[in-house]
Each structure stands twice: as structure tokens, then as C-alpha cells.
Symmetry: D2
Subunit: 240 residues, 4 copies
């Protein structure tokens, strides 16, 4: 954090609200609790990574859509296309990490869960209409999430005995995203001019984080159904 | 040209067809003839730059749209977003060059001519539907156009007594685009696999170049109407 | 229900699943419970109608989008455009009903709640991509919802002492929609050919109904905040 | 024409401009001249109908797109969806008429000519951006074209010895469109409020008619290439 952005009260308020939602999520998510209690399994983690794959596949594309329609702000437009370029292909790391736990690459990828589809739908919605700045609200929590989920990742790694080479999605992102996060903070601080801008960014931040929370818990439900034999979805993961 | 691309017969055929269309254009365009005969005026050149501004404004955006929908080819997707980022704001150079001939920045920009709108419409069309590779056909001639129009630019510069600092759009682009042109050639050579791919690229190359030709000649018509007093469009340019 | 559609096992299964989700919703929704217990107020009902206004505004548009992209099935395409035309302006009835409880037409409409935005986002998503048939899953429950919510509407009417002329949104729709519902059932029965078609329709049916449930409960939360003085959103409704 | 619309000076000016462009087209189009001189062949007429098929296929869809984005004018929105519904499938009549001259239904449809693609691209462009009213400019000439092309159709029918049942596209449309044309005139008269509205409609009217003219002449060129053996495109039509 530079002095420039630290001084911005809107940004501080936004960070405060981000922490509040994370605190709720970390305290209440069933998926998080399973991880915290050291009860995560390879199949559960794989189910989570598969949903991560699904929504991550769209991130470069919906990021670019913002650039396509903000032709009156070249600085922000460049940021959108640049960021889109950097996001291309990141979903492959999630698939790699699944495979690294004992599957052949090219395993059949189950369809996204409904909660994941809803998250994807929402991220496109905030990208193709409304305040072009609002998608920064998603980046605002997503690019800085390692500050909040690092302990969870450590717990997953320890519980499952994974090497860093088996956690490329999160290892790579925690490095890339530190830099992105700084750029996102600066962009928000620079571009948000009106109370409406700040509220639009805040609303997308909160809503997209809550939808991610639902996705996590739907992963837990899908896992329970898999274990109970109530569902054949991704049954091949039971072999992990 | 590297050895890699030189060896590709499809690319050579495409270059041949490009040269044929350029030869037609250079021989038959009324706008080109006026330039060749040393009869270009500042107002005519400004009218041309204004149309250039209009369609160039959309280039980053329609380029990015291709990336948004080609999610099965990460290499090409990255190229699209990268190229989109580089194109952002180039239209401002065209406006700068108009102003540099004696107008205040912020002068009223006339609405695009119909032929320019048609070109813009077509570039979006080839970007948002059909073969995602086809937009490379536009880049194929646009990024290498300096090989064909350099003599014309020299003639404009000489006739109007312009300095290079008054021709930033073309000077900057001829440098940037040499590199782009090489990248476009390589991408076409690498990605076009079927006769349909090659034909799709060729068709967009030819059609978009012919639409640009029409735009040039509509600039000539607009200029004639301005000089004859038949139109008040961009009348402020008569002061140049 | 005609004999034609009655005979279709896929349709019967879909109806069964619809009933299950409605049963869950009617048993668990906090908003529904408030209505059932005769505790609905004009302000709460108005808050609900305002969200109804928000998502209904988009129904004609996302319905038409399906038609725009299903150019290989003229029968379904005609249905989409026809249905879109019939949906135009229905949101105005929701506003009318709010006003009829004691507000001037033209009252300031508060921004949609996040859950409503998510529902809207999802309805566009299922309309502009994926299986074009899938949006029928939304119509499947939405056009027949009166079978499930009639008792609730009766309760609202009684608790608040409303005349039918103050409940135009629901009265008008229950008539229009009986016919629509039949047409939707027939379309689903006719067009769904593969297990994937049936599953796509079922998934959208269930997900969009669950998102509507969340919207209802977010209305309850917004009402609680209004009553508690924790929020100034739509504070003018307290005067009702 | 009702008294209502007759009284509108903007509409009269628009009709005048329409007549001027038609006069140019009828006097200068190479395709028109061939028809007028009684030199049309079945293959040439078939080539024209095939291009008609190509752009007509998109008319319902781009018409509906206008409705999707004009959510602030319910009257016009309804018109768009209604008109879209009526346009669905009309392109099949063009194919029917080709087949009726001696081909099996299901004959291979050649790819659209570049000029046709440009027309299609432009009609989408005016539909998805800019003044939502502007697409009325296309309907303004297209729905009333029979006033101008009736003699040509008569000439085609006589030269080729066709029955009305072999000219369904034009026979059906001349009936349907008389009604549409009246509705379009009224809509333009009612909705165009500012000089910009009128100019937007006029510009689209003129540009889309000129692009259609180019399409006609490109059909003539394609026919010449077919006859000369310079092209194998649609070579099966030589058997007609």
C-alpha cells in the first residue's frame, strides 16, 4: 500500500467492508469449517478446484468486456485489456492441481454447479452493463484474497500433504495478485469520484464475495452427496 | 519476414491477393489520385484524418471482442487482448494531427461519414461472429499498409509542408505496426489450418480494404461538397 | 393440461421437481412465513413489489434475446418474440400497485437489492448463452406460479384490505399466465429431445426459483432494516 | 397513407429522399438494367434470391435487438418484438422460389457475397447501437419497396415465365408489407422528435438502400463470373 492510496477515505471504508464480509464468511462457511478442522479430503479440494476452474475461465473475458464499453476513459480501458491478457489461461492451473493429486490430464470436467453459474452470470452482468467501474469491486477482493485465505491454504496443504507444485493455482496467484491488488486499489482510488461510484464498487465487492461463499458451500453439499452416494456427479474423484 | 512464415504458401497467396487489391485501390481511388497529383489540401487531409479517428476509435474494442469469444485458444486470446491494449487511444493521434494544422484541440468533430460507419459496422461484425481468425484479415493489411501508402504520405507531407510532429498518426503507426505486422503474419501462418480459415481471413482482408477505399473516396466527395458550398459539414475546416 | 403434454414423462418429472422446490420455498422462506402469519404490512408488500418491478422490467428483453440467437428453430423463435411482446410493460403494474396503496405515481424507485440483481443477471445469462431451450425452465415455474402463491396473495389481500384493482400485477398475470403456462409446457414437451435438454431446463427452473426465494428473503431483511431504522433505503414507504 | 402521417413535413422530406435514392438506383444499377432489358436468367435471379435469403435471415433478429435495448419506450419496444415475430422465417420463401425453378429443396446454399455481409453487418450495427429509432430508416424503404420494384418483378416474371407460386417471397411480402409500411410511417412520424432523430433515420434509410444496390450489382458480377467460368461458386445454378 502506498501513501497515495492510504490517504483515500473511500478506499479505507471499502477495505473495512471487505474485512467484515470475509469475517462473516470465514466464521460461517461450512466449506471453510471443514478445512479449518483438518477434515478436507482430496475429493473435496478437487471439487472446489473444479468450480474455481469454471469461473476463472471467464475472468479474462468479462474483464475485457469492461474495456470494450469504456471508450471514454483510455487509462481504465488499457488497464482492463492488460488485466484481461494476464488472466488468460489461469483456469488451467486449477485443472493441473486437480490432476496432480492423481488424475490423468484430460479427465472429464463436471458441469459447473448452479452456484458457480450464478457467480459467472453475475460477473458478466457487472461487466457488460452498469457502472464500468463496478467490476473493480470484484477484483478488489479477489486479487487480495490471499491475505484472508492463506491460513486455509496452509491447512489444505498440510492436511493433504501437498507440495507447492501441486498448488500452482494459489501459489502463482498469490504472487501475481499482490501486484494486481495494488493496481486495483490505485485504480479505484483514482477513478471513483462520486458516492455512487464508491457504492457501485462496494456492492459488487460484497455481492460477488457472497456468491463465492455460496459456491464454496455448494461444493460442500456436492461433496456430501458424493460421499453418501446420492449423486454420481464427479464420482471418479472418489478414487483420489 | 522470418523463414517460418516465408515457407507458408497460404500466406504468400494472401500477400499476393493483398497486393492486387492495393494495386486496384492505388490506381483507381479518387482520393489517392488527388494526393498523387499534389492537389491535397489541409482541409481534405483533415477530413480524411477525422474519418480515420472515427474508425480507429473502435479498433481496440472490436479487437478485444475477438478475444472475449475465442476461449478455446489461449494463445490467440492473449494476442487479441495484448493487441487491443496497444491500440487504445491511437485515434487521439489522428485528432492531434488535425489540430496541429491550425485548430484548437477540442474542435467539434463531425459525425462519421456513412462509408466510415459501414467500415466500423463490418469490423465489429467480423469480430463478434463467424470465424474468430477472420479479423486477422483486417490486421493483415492494416498493420502493413505503410508499405503501400508511404509514397502517398510523403506526398501529403511535401504538398502541405508538414513536419513529422504534425503526422504523428502515421509516423507512430509505421513504427509500431512493423512489429505488429510480423506478429499478425505469424499468427495467421500458425492458426489457419483449413482452406476455410484461409478464405475467411482473405475475405475479410479484401472486404475491409475495399470498404476503406470507399471511405477514402467518400472523403473526396465530402470535400468537393464543402468546397462547392453544397454542405456545411465540417465547414470550419475551410479556415485551414 | 392437454393429453399431448400429459403423456410426456420428462414433463411430469419436471413438474414433480418444481413442486419439490416450491414446497421447500413455501415451508422455509421467511418472507412467506410473514405473509402466512398475517403479519405483512403495506411497506413490506411494497418492498416486494418494487423488486418485482426490477426483475420484471428485464423479462421481455431477455426473452427476446433467446429468439435473437435461436435462428435454426423458427417455431421457437416466433414463440420467443411473441412472448417478449406480451411481456412488455408488465413491470408497470407492479409500480401501479405500490402507488395504489397511497403513493404518488412517480415516487422514487429504490435501486434493486443485490439478490434481485443476481436474479436478473442469471436470467440474462441463461438467455444469451448455453442451450436456448433452458430459459423455458424459468417460464415453466414463473408462468404457473399462481397455483402455488394464490393462498399467499389471498392472505396479503385480506391482511392489507386491498381491492383487486390494487393487485393488478398478480390478478392480470394469473389470467395471462394460465394461457402462457400451457404454451410453455407444450413447447418444452415438443422441443426437449435429449436428457441434456431436460436437465438444462430443470436446472434453470430450480436455480431461478431459488434465486427468487433469496430475493424474497432479502426483501424481508430490507424491511427489518427499515423498521429498525438501520437503513434509509425506501424510507418513504414507512408512511404507508 | 392516413391524414395523420401525411401532415408530417419530416416524413414528406424522408419520402422525397427515398425517391431520390431509388431513382439513382433504378437508373444506374447494372442488375436492374439487366432485368429491364429482359435479359435476366433463372441463374441470375436465383443468385439474387440467395443473397436475399442471406440478409433476410437476420431481419427478425436485428429487429428484435432494437427492442432489447429500447426499454424506455414500451410502445416502440412492442412494435419491435411484434415486427420481429412477423419476420421470422421469411427467408425460407426466397429459398422456396429458387427451388421452384428446378432445384431440389436442400440444395447447397453458397456463402453470402461480401456486399451482402456488409449489408448484414450494417443492419446489426444500426440495431445494437446508436439511436434506437434509426433502424426504422431501413424498414422505411424495405417495407415499401414494392412501389419501386413492382415493374422489375413483373419483368422478371415475364422474362422467366414464372407463376406467382414461384415468386412467393415477393408476392407474400408485397401484401404483408403494405400494412407494415403504414405502421412504420406512423411510428417514424410519432417517435422522431428532434432533427437528429430525423437525420438518423434518413441516414440509415439511404445507407442501407445503397448497400442493397451494391449487393444487387455484386450479384451481377458473380453471375458474370459464373457464366464466364471464372468462378465455381454456385455452379449448380447453371443447370437451371
Amino acid at each position: 500500500m502506498t501513501d497515495t492510496t492510504k490517504a483515500v477515505p473511500g478506499l479505507e471504508a471499502l477495505k473495512h467492508r471487505r474485512s467484515q464480509v470475509w469475517d462473516e464468511l470465514l466464521a460461517q462457511s461450512r466449506f471453510v469449517r471443514t478445512v479449518q478442522q483438518g477434515e478436507v479430503t482430496k475429493a473435496l479440494y478437487a471439487l472446489y478446484l473444479i468450480e474455481t476452474y469454471h469461473y476463472t475461465r471467464h475472468n479474462a473475458r468479462n474483464q475485457a468486456l469492461v474495456g470494450v464499453r469504456c471508450d471514454d476513459d483510455r487509462h481504465y480501458q488499457k488497464f482492463c485489456f492488460n488485466h484481461a491478457e494476464e488472466e488468460v489461461g489461469h483456469e488451467q492451473m486449477a485443472l493441473h492441481d486437480v490432476a496432480s493429486m492423481g488424475l490423468q490430464p484430460g479427465f472429464p470436467i463436471p458441469r459447473a454447479l448452479p452456484a458457480t453459474e450464478v457467480l459467472i452470470a453475475y460477473l458478466y452482468w457487472v461487466s457488460y452493463q452498469g457502472n464500468p467501474l463496478q467490476r473493480l469491486g470484484y477484483s478488489f477482493w479477489a486479487e487480495s484474497c490471499y491475505d484472508y485465505i492463506r491460513p486455509l491454504l496452509g491447512k489444505v496443504q498440510k492436511t493433504l500433504g501437498l507440495t507447492p507444485a501441486q498448488m500452482t493455482f494459489f501459489v502463482a496467484h498469490s504472487d501475481i495478485d499482490a501486484e494486481h491488488s495494488q493496481a486495483v486499489d490505485e485504480m479505484i482510488a483514482k477513478k471513483c469520484k462520486t458516492p455512487e461510484d464508491w457504492e457501485d464498487v462496494a456492492q459488487v465487492m460484497e455481492t460477488s464475495l457472497r456468491l463465492t461463499w455460496r459456491m464454496m458451500d455448494e461444493v460442500s453439499d456436492a461433496y456430501a452427496q458424493l460421499v453418501d452416494g446420492r449423486s454420481e456427479r464427479a464420482a471418479f474423484l472418489k478414487a483420489l
